[in-house]
Amino acid sequence: MSEEPAKLIQAAQRGDLQAFQQLYELHIGRVYALCQRLLVDRQRAEDACQESFIKIWRQLPGFRGDSSFTTWLHSIATRTAIDLWRSDRMLRLVDDTEPDDCPATQPTPQEISTGVDMEQAIRNLPPQARAVFVLFAIEGYTHQEIADLLSIAQGSSKAHYHRARQLLKEWLREH
């Protein structure tokens, strides 16, 4: 990194694409991790990343430093990923407000010892439980924030989180 992030932000706010590319490189890892965990599908995760950075670029001149840049950037990425997640669910016309008891696939025994196993187990959670779990346990949002983001009750967020933990513990127990 050749420049300080603050300078990069200022340059990108003035329309400097090279500076923005450096900001992108700094943050793409975390943004993609969120998108992939939330959306599961690789192509959708990449779409969400692109959409996020388009929005970030567009809104960047309005960033005034009231919060940290990382917080600001991730709030945009989170909302974008959730919008796609929500539209995916609507497209599938699936109502999973009651979590599935049968995740689609279980990780193979080989995956269990590789470190990829937990990622796979999270992906196999029912969509709503997965979204709540990712946002709460990995991204650090509160249940109230998650309730606002997903347009659900705070109690539902807690219930989905509890359900996700139970499913993951069952999975751990089996393996």
Partner: protein
Amino acid sequence: MSTEYDDEQDLDRALDQALNQALQQLPREIRPAADLWPGLQTRLKQTPQQHPRLPAWPLAAAAVLAALWLAPWPQPAPAVPPVTLETETVSPSVEISLVQTYEQQKAQQLAGLRFTVGPMGDWQEQLSTWDDAVLQVRFALSFYPDEPQLLSQLDMLYRQQLSYLQQVALAETSVPNAYY
């Protein structure tokens, strides 16, 4: 795994711990398999950045100051012709030309005044309050250079100021030089 535990509660606690540990080991970052930047760059070049809209308070402050000056002063016949504003096709230089025109007129009027305190009181203090209002509107214009309402407010403030100066000048002519 469950054979190591005597009761279900211990097992649940152990699983909780195992889950927490597994979560802590999850990577914070995952790089996408494909390089997304080239495609993103193409789209960014076609995406204009949104510059922030003016926060509400400068507009409100300008409006309040303008309203304050509208209220106490009876509106005289418009002795000062307003500067024509092309509100449909306003350019950023309208503000500058408007300010220059009125400041020139103001300077001419001020040059003709003899006293700091005349029959209408300390007109300089009154004038400075108008100047403050003008500055507020110009500050708002720095966010909205082509905002017709703000330009109209600026125009109105200058006209009020010039009308007031005309009244001061008239008042001065009605009293002898030795009055002060």
